[in-house]
Subunit: 149 residues, 2 copies
């Protein structure tokens, strides 16, 4: 298994994973050929050096994904925050430890890039995810507030 | 009162506000001359078109600040999220409605830029802030998880 930056060829496999999820299936539009808007979004992500869309791959194909972003602030003495979003593991690989491997890769990369903090929000409808993050060392110190337009 | 993008000259006033706060005073290093790292951070923010560091200004000077970021994802059919961080109102202007004006400006700007969602996290040690955000229309649907390095 390797973890690497995603390429444009990986986009359909990533969107398949984003869709194959209780919350994701209401949000995504997965079909082949994949709607062009996903490729347009990929281009914008890959052109931005603060964005790291990653995939995990083994002999069976793409088995996991996540997006790690870096955001520069004035707060914390001009610190950089790392932020994780859009983590998915392919359904047949869930419970295999791959999620933890993705996180350990991102934690190491965030430290290596000089971030002082790694953050994410997790939907209160996903209690198992909350326990997973706490086990990794995240503290549930904040409320995550969302306003959908 | 006007709301506008911050310039380098505004950085000391912004950092003064970031420091003048129960949580912020432990995190910041406000002194004059201001440490160079804050100006270096400002340069990186202002060069990134996805970042909008804003200030509110009246005849008395800089009275408020916030940072509005845009992040491109594949999720939500290639959607853009807007995110708010580092909101502060100068101590003598708290309770004046300025916080709400800053938020209304950022909500309008986020919609105008095509974001589908506006998000932030708020420290559970700030119960008044939570009520303020709920009144603005944010839903407390997520846990905000943080890992400090």
């Amino acid at each position: 298994m390797i973890i690497r930056k995603a390429t444009k060829k990986d986009v359909p496999s990533i969107v398949a994973m984003l869709s194959d999820d209780e919350l994701g299936q209401k949000r995504e539009d997965y079909r082949i050929p994949l709607p062009e808007k996903y490729f347009a979004a990929f281009d914008l992500i890959s052109q931005d050096t603060n964005q790291n869309l990653i995939v995990a791959e083994d002999e069976s194909g793409i088995i996991g994904t996540a997006q790690l972003s870096f955001i520069q602030y004035l707060t914390y003495q001009g610190g950089i925050r790392a932020q994780i979003e859009a983590v998915r593991v392919r359904i047949d690989k869930r419970g295999s430890g791959l999620g933890e491997e993705l996180f350990l890769w991102m934690i190491a990369h965030a430290k290596n890039q000089g971030a002082h903090l790694l953050q994410l929000t997790t939907d209160k409808q996903r209690p198992d995810a909350l326990r997973f993050y706490e086990k990794l060392g995240f503290k549930s110190s904040h409320q995550g507030m969302k306003m959908h337009f």
